[in-house]
Amino acid sequence: MLALMQNGGGALAQTPNEGTNFLHELLLWLPLPEWIPGWALILGAVGAGVGILVGLVSLIALWSVWMERKVSGHMQCRNGPMYAGGWHGWAQTIADGIKLFQKEDMIPIGADRALFVLSPAIVLASIFGALAALPLSYDWYFARMDLGIFTILAIGSTTTIGVIMAGWASNSKWSLYGAMREAAQVVAYEIPLGIALMVPLITLGTFSLLDASALQSGFFGMGWAIFQNPLCLPAFIIFWIAALAETKRAPFDLPEAESELVAGFLTEFSGIRWSFFFMEEYAAMFLMSAVGAVFFFGGFESPATYALRSAGMEGTIVFSLVCFVTLVLKAFTGVFLMMWLRWTLPRVRIDQVMTMGYKYLTPLALICVLGAAIWEAILHVVLN
């Protein structure tokens, strides 16, 4: 255990404390002429960052939607999309996207126009903001934050505001139901989600996603939090259930429960506005899975990264790429798990959702935190 701690500490020491991100490095590396003013450089960097972020969200959504249709298809003894674009309908989501762009722009009579137009933007902005705090590799990140997970949870929660706005502005009763359900559900599950995350935070001792990942590099890259502290496993299960509820995925898809509320808060949305909500949902799935991967399952660390590090390749582009791929693979495993659950389980009822959140998950999460703290204290005494 001591070796583990030391190894983890060593990895932490190797990552730069005064972080610079790759955009910054890019700007330094490019032979830019002198006459370009500083503000233009900053604007350009910000623009490039936003562009990468938008591309990232779009790519995640494109891939996830296609994956969802194929996964659901194969679970249901059918094929899913087969023709759009050729091989196994790989271009299906692209076709869907272009089609949605062509749809009529509809705002129902009686809707609150300003809120109706604003709500998809808020939802999308919040997921962009949250994703910006997610590092993609040890030296690929948009912003180095010591309180990264805090930022992600805080900004990610603003999605709810957009959803409630959407439901209210639609002037439809089904939408209103969906919005109210979302509000109740998110409030109920933010708490166990945050508390369950406290367990790996206590174990690793950091709020930063980069540091958390680096601290799990022991044991041939398998020193994951889930192996460091026995209470991480129950904490992860609680985190996962809460994450499902946060991302409105089945069996907690009550805000848009199709058989009950037609389409919930999305009932009156069509075309591109609707697709923004859709993108948000899949990006949030990715984000939650990535957060789970970073804090419970070693983040960028895997035997592959360990091997590369032993070979002295740390800091090279190959190493960064392997880190990135590791995280993405872990995150998409989580996304797949969410899809698997969605196509298997029935939906729970709203009072059962509330009961589970308040009566069971929150106390259990607190017990986990307490247990984790005691475990760490004992470990501290034993090691010293």
Binding site: S172, E258, S259, D351
Partner: protein
């Protein structure tokens, strides 16, 4: 800011006796918040209504305080047509009221007309084929009930599995009559034609495979913890209520009443089959909750599928070569008289009251549709439940709108 339309304003403080009881048994008091009930229109186009039914819901938040079903969005004048076209011409229309169990509808109509024609002899092979078809169709119909109930509860995949097996039954039917959904195969006097070679063996193969699949479905959905939580103790129909509303079929048996027309007022060879132990009558036992809840009704339907399988197997053992249709003239003239025949359809008692004045056309053709009667119970069942429960209750009644509206 526009606010969603609301019902009339109510006084802000409600009397204590207006406290609502939640499904969990807790009592809730609304003391100082000004609230008003919301009237929501579920349907005619709504995923939960299984077609084009409309339910006007009065809700207090998630709590349903009143429900009023509205019918007639698929009224197709079947009874008027029955009094306007010839006896045999009406047979295809019977396919179309409960389109999930067309064979049973054909059977009910044929039996009612045959009741008016006492001279007509129905050959035993014809009766056996009728029973096989009726029971296979019952399985197919319950499969749809099971699959769509899964959709109502929010589980998508069982629907696809159910339709996979249903496709097989439809292929079997297609081989004997050429149609997938509306068969018109059971005719007045017997069945339209004999089974193609090897068909009976294919039915036997289906029985063997389906038994395994059934267990899979049972484990996947019916025993699923979330499913049990969603359906047990929800929408409880007591025995008295079931009698009062005239419920029949799985709805009645789900409430713990041991009554099945196939056993208790036998038609065709069902009496013989029951004596031979070919089938039992499943009833709701309240295994997971209360007797007569949604889970019990679903369970009854599930077990009935297996019992139907037993009946099919019994028929396959008993069937012998011979003619399949009695001596029926090309233009049927029915002797004067009136008859009411009710048979056990997948959804309950499908009755035909036929009245003939001796001519080529019926004087009165009354269809006593089980869905129509079973649906009336919603009005009493839904108040006091949550919105999601009301969807579960509609699903558990397993209505077919073609039949409620006829």
């Amino acid at each position: 800011m526009t606010s969603p339309p609301q019902a009339e304003h109510k006084p802000s403080i409600r009397p204590a006796d207006e406290a609502r009881t939640l499904p969990s048994g807790e009592r809730e008091f609304f003391m100082d918040v000004a609230t008003s009930d919301l009237e929501v229109n579920m349907g005619p186009q709504h995923p939960a209504t299984h077609g084009v039914m409309r339910v006007l819901l009065r809700t207090d938040g998630e709590l349903v305080t009143g429900a009023q079903p509205h019918l007639g969005y698929l009224h197709r004048c079947a009874e008027k047509i029955g009094e306007s076209v010839e006896w045999l011409q009406y047979l295809p229309y019977t396919d179309r009221y409960d389109y999930l169990s067309a064979m049973n509808n054909n059977l009910s109509y044929s039996l009612a007309v045959e009741a008016l024609m006492p001279e007509l002899e129905i050959p035993r092979r014809g009766t056996m084929i009728r029973m096989i078809c009726a029971e296979l169709n019952r399985i197919a119909s319950h499969l749809v009930a099971f699959g769509t109930y899964g959709l109502d509860i929010g589980a998508f995949t069982p629907f696809f599995y159910a339709f996979r097996e249903r496709e097989w039954i439809q292929a079997l039917f297609e081989k004997i009559c050429g149609a997938r959904l509306t068969y018109s195969y059971i005719r007045i006097g017997g069945v339209f034609n004999d089974t193609p070679p090897g068909w009976l063996q294919e039915v036997a193969d289906f029985c063997d495979v389906f038994e395994e699949k059934w267990q899979e479905y049972y484990d996947l959905l019916i025993e699923n913890h979330i499913f049990v939580q969603r359906t047990a103790n929800v929408g409880v129909i007591s025995e008295e209520m079931a009698y009062d509303f005239g419920l029949t079929g799985p709805m009645l048996r789900g409430s713990g009443v041991d009554f099945d027309l196939r056993r208790d007022m036998p038609y065709l060879e069902y009496g013989e089959a029951h004596d031979a132990g070919a089938f039992k009558v499943p009833i709701g036992t309240g295994e997971k909750g209360t007797v007569g809840d949604c889970w019990d009704r679903t369970q009854v339907r599930m077990v009935e599928m297996m019992e139907s399988l037993g009946l099919v197997r019994w028929c396959l053992e008993q069937i012998e070569p011979g003619p399949v249709i009695g001596d029926v003239p090309r233009v049927i003239k029915v002797p004067p008289g009136e008859a009411y025949v009710g048979i056990e359809n997948p959804r309950g008692e499908l009755g035909h009251y036929m009245h003939s004045d001796g001519g080529k056309i019926a004087t009165r053709c009354r269809v006593r549709a089980p869905s129509f009667v079973n649906l009336a119970v919603l009005e009493d069942l839904m108040p006091g439940t949550l919105l999601a429960d009301s969807v579960a209750i509609i699903g558990s009644t397993d209505i077919v709108i073609g039949e409620t509206d006829r």
